[in-house]
Amino acid sequence: MERLEDGEVSPYLVGELKVGDKVELRGPIGGYFVWRAGEDRPLLLVAGGSGVVPLMAMLRHRATASHKAPARLLYSSRTLADVIYREEIDRLVTANDGLAVYHTLTREKPKDWIGYTRRIDAAMVQEVAWPKMQQPAVFVCGPTPFVEAAADLLVGLDYEAQRIKTERFGATGGVGG
């Protein structure tokens, strides 16, 4: 757990919470950032760092659904070690059921790495995103600067802003997760 000085939750979890303390969890809450399998439109997911978490829930939901719209995940992490759910994502891709995953690493280039090694940019989005005419369902989740950058790039592809669903979790030290 990384403590963010201006964070809402992490200073409490890192500094205050003790083993044995009782924690009350609530949720899941919210009906906006939700995707339901059964849609014919292709799915485009864009994740910055731990923003992959709600998107992974969508991919798990998709994996168990009988009707699978084609899906692409563009996932930006700092280093390979920071990639959350790496093995599970690899497994989902191996199922060969119409899911493609594109990783980008912003702070290292491991040996033999064939993914991207830069922050998300227009060329990357152009290569990964579905053409606008396919009217993809789009979900972007990550730190605020990442989400703003990704949403701007998608609008640059002529995606309608209203069609791009975003979820921000505040700043966590820069674009790229």
Binding site: D6, G27, G31, Y32, F33, T144, T166, E167, R168, A171
Partner: protein, 89 residues
């Protein structure tokens, strides 16, 4: 940290709104009283670092809602919202 980096969105107040309203609010559509833009609550701008929560229109940045909770009560200022459109459960 810059103000722009402190911006969250309506998803961040799903729980708070869930305490106040009986129906799911992030997929409700709000009409901005200032510019008339219609946005789902999930995609509006939210600032939680103010005293209370300030919700702004993503199109014109005017205040849509202010929500304050304290001493066992809620104060809800909806001056900036002309209309809320909600789905039946």
């Amino acid at each position: 940290m810059q103000t722009s980096e402190m911006k969250l969105d309506g998803n961040a107040i799903a729980g708070l709104l869930g305490e106040i309203f009986a129906v799911e609010m992030t997929s409700a559509q709000g009409t901005c009283a200032s510019c008339g833009a219609v946005n789902e609550v999930g995609r509006v701008d939210v600032y939680i670092h103010a005293p209370g929560t300030v919700v702004r229109c993503p199109d014109c940045e005017q205040v849509l809602m202010r929500i304050v909770r304290g001493r066992g009560r809620y104060w809800l200022d909806l001056t900036g919202v002309r209309c809320l459109e909600l789905a039946e459960d």
